[in-house]
């Protein structure tokens, strides 16, 4: 899951990015409204965390710009303005949720999870594909009841595959949703990570879940199909 944090106060942006990355999200930061608009258009984010008071273009205008371009990605407004009018204006401009500063980081995480879930219309709780289970809150992954240790990137990759179960995900999609802005899509890092993940998930099991679609990408399949 890839998140854009738009916040002009560098220190705030920095701890949000750090905290989110520790939850296995890929995070980019934008420090003013112009940069935010550019980045939202250039990349495929799963969530935007948006401050309202921003230099150059303010958050509400950024939001209007984003919605004006027909982008429906969830936006979590994050601001020190906490009057009812401000909240109403933020939500009416196209915000999906509103959190006032200073906030509890755990609440920010929970709201981010809720927005991501809503985007996919997923029920709360853990993801399950066959006997593979992933808990997005505790980040615990298990197969057949046996816990599997994953690195941050492996976890993020698996979560993305599980969110898109039975659908082909291309390398570009993976690079856009699992890695941040600094990722170079020309390398074979994705293939390396998928192989690591496959070893941990599928090696001790007769039932393979992760499949390669040659020249396109990968798929996490619930039912193993006959070789076709």
């Amino acid at each position: 899951m890839r998140i854009l944090v738009v916040e002009d106060e560098k220190k705030v942006a920095s701890f949000i990015k750090k905290g989110l990355e520790e939850e296995y999200y890929a995070v980019d930061c934008a420090y003013d409204g112009e940069e935010a608009l550019f980045m939202v258009e250039a990349n495929d984010y799963d969530l935007v965390i948006l401050d309202i008071m921003l230099p150059k273009i303010d958050g509400l205008e950024v939001l209007e710009g984003v919605r004006g371009k027909g982008l429906t990605l969830p936006v979590l407004m994050l601001t020190a303005k906490d009057s009812v009018e401000d909240v109403v204006r933020g939500l009416d401009a196209g915000g999906d949720d509103y959190l006032t500063k200073p906030f509890a980081f755990a609440e920010l995480l929970a709201r981010a999870r809720a927005l991501l879930r809503r985007k996919e219309r997923e029920p709360a709780g853990e993801f399950r594909v066959a006997d593979l289970a992933l808990d997005p809150v505790t980040h615990k992954v298990s197969r057949g009841g046996k816990e599997i240790d994953l690195t941050a990137k492996e976890y993020a990759l698996l979560e993305y595959l599980m969110r898109n179960v039975n659908q082909v995900v291309t390398r570009t999609m993976i690079s856009e949703h699992v890695w941040d802005y600094h990722f170079d899509p020309m390398t074979n890092v994705i293939d390396v990570y998928v192989n690591h993940l496959r070893k941990k998930i599928d090696l001790n099991s007769s039932h393979r879940l992760i499949h390669t679609i040659r020249g396109v990408g990968y798929i996490l399949r619930e039912i193993e199909e006959d070789a076709a």
Binding site: D8, E9, K10, K11, V12, F15, I16, K18, G19, E22, Y31, D32, M53, P55, A80, K81, S83, K101, P102, F103, A104, F105, A106
Partner: protein, 471 residues
């Protein structure tokens, strides 16, 4: 409720006063008229009695009868004494002759009257004889050689007088209450009309009391008392609204300024505590927290200074100060900062620069302005601090000019506003609280001076402080 309203009281007073005036007038009218009517009757019967008496005394007097009298009256006055009753009695009180219109009735004569007549006195009295109206009677003695020889009584019915008075009384008894009723209705109407704007003012004041300061009274008549009251009231609400808005904005700004460091403190600590980290990481978090804490202290200090200033709680010293010396000290202190940023910081002084004021606050003023200029001037730029005395004008001027980013025209007039920032991101990174220039303005005003700013975007700004020179 109604009994307590001004319009009711006003009408009541009005009606009571009018009632007193009208009834006194009516009583006066009634009694004056009655008196003059009765006097008129008395005069007439007296005159007639005198004529009768004199004719009775004349040589051919004794034999004069009432019928002759009628003729005499007709001859003398050209009228017959209609409605007058005449009765002549002998000295013992026996009725001798009487006018025909008396028919069988006799005018009574009391013992007292008879006694008075025997002493030669004339008596007026009102007697009930016939009909429903009393008779006014004059009893006059006929004297010959100091001796009473007979009595003449002339009576006149009071019918006309009593009827007139009764009619007047009736008119007054009806007219006065009717007049009072009409005036009270009119008074109530007028009071209502005059006081309606007051009700409106009350209603609006009530709405304002419930927190809606945007309400205003519609003024129809500008120049009367209520119009003036309403416009005074409106001005007061406008002032209140402005100051409320300022206070609300100030509170919102202040809390916003404090929320940012709080957000950082809370966020960094929460993220930091999520898992075990290395010593370096903890140190970084603590150092960053310390930075935010000092930022908050600065904001709180500045806020405290300003709120004390607002409440007039700050006591200013009144000392003679050589402003150029003070400025030179500030200049020396800021050299390190200027060198760090590679900015050329110059100092100049000229003329007498003695002022009266508080050395600590004046120092803060010069420091704030110069630091401010250093903040907004990029490396390689120039900041100039100049103190110049002008004896002719009796002023000392402090100029702080820089080659910095400058301030846009639209922002110039708001530059001294609390928490106003031309660019909030830039100011926050330089560690400003957004209150420095507000404090400068307050210090200058407390010293009876002026502060002004001129600026060209991209070229730089000049702040000018003018203080009165101390001779």
């Amino acid at each position: 409720m109604l009994l307590k309203t001004i319009k009711f009281k006003l009408t009541l007073w009005y009606v009571v006063i009018l009632a007193i005036i009208l009834s006194s007038f009516s009583l006066f009218l009634y009694f004056t008229l009655a008196d003059s009517l009765y006097t008129g009757v008395d005069n007439k019967i007296k005159t007639m009695a005198e004529i009768v008496v004199s004719s009775a005394r004349s040589p051919f007097g004794a034999g004069t009868s009432i019928t002759d009298l009628d003729q005499i009256m007709t001859k003398r006055f050209g009228i017959r004494p209609l409605g007058r009753f005449i009765q002549i009695l002998d000295e013992s009180g026996r009725v001798g002759d009487r006018s025909t219109n008396l028919r069988d009735v006799q005018i009574p004569i009391s013992v007292q009257t008879l006694k008075a007549a025997s002493k030669g006195k004339t008596t007026f009295e009102t007697v009930e004889v016939m009909g429903k109206y009393p008779l006014r009677v004059v009893t006059m003695p006929v004297t010959e050689n100091e001796k009473m020889v007979g009595i003449v009584q002339v009576g006149s019915s009071l019918e006309g007088v009593e009827e007139a008075l009764q009619q007047l009384l009736l008119i007054l008894l009806i007219a006065v209450p009717v007049a009072l009723l009409i005036t009270s209705a009119g008074g109530l109407f007028l009071a209502n009309k005059a006081l309606r704007p007051v009700d409106e003012i009350t209603q609006i004041a009530r709405r304002i009391g419930s927190g809606d300061l945007s309400q205003r009274i519609r003024i129809k008549r500008v120049n009367d008392e209520l119009g003036r009251l309403a416009s005074t009231f409106n001005e007061m609400i406008a002032k209140l609204e402005t100051s409320f808005r300022q206070v609300r904005r100030f509170t919102a700004d202040a809390s916003h300024e404090l929320k940012t460091p709080l957000t950082i403190l809370r966020g960094e600590v929460e993220v930091g505590l999520k898992k075990k980290r290395g010593m370096k990481e903890y140190q970084r978090i603590l150092a960053s927290n310390l930075e935010e804490i000092s930022r908050m202290s600065r904001i709180v200090d500045d806020l405290l200074t300003l709120s004390r200033a607002d409440m007039g709680e700050v006591s200013m010293e009144r000392e003679e100060i050589e402003l150029s010396t003070l400025a030179r000290e500030v200049w020396e202190d800021l050299q390190i900062l200027a060198r760090e940023k590679r900015i050329q910081l110059k100092f100049m002084d000229d003329g007498f620069t003695k002022v009266e004021g508080d050395p600590l606050f004046l120092r803060q003023l010069i420091l704030n302005l110069t630091e401010n200029s250093l903040k907004y001037t990029p490396s390689g730029g120039k900041v100039e601090l100049k103190v110049k005395g002008d004896q002719e004008q009796g002023e000392v001027r402090i100029f702080v000019s820089d080659t910095g980013v400058g301030i846009a025209r639209k922002d110039l007039k708001r530059i001294f506003d609390r928490f106003f920032r031309v660019d909030k991101a830039r100011t926050r990174n330089t560690g400003g609280t957004g209150l420095g220039l507000s404090i400068c303005q307050w210090i200058v005003q407390a010293h009876e001076g002026q502060i002004a700013v001129e600026s060209t975007v991209g070229k730089g700004s000049t702040f000018t402080v003018t203080l009165p020179l101390k001779d």
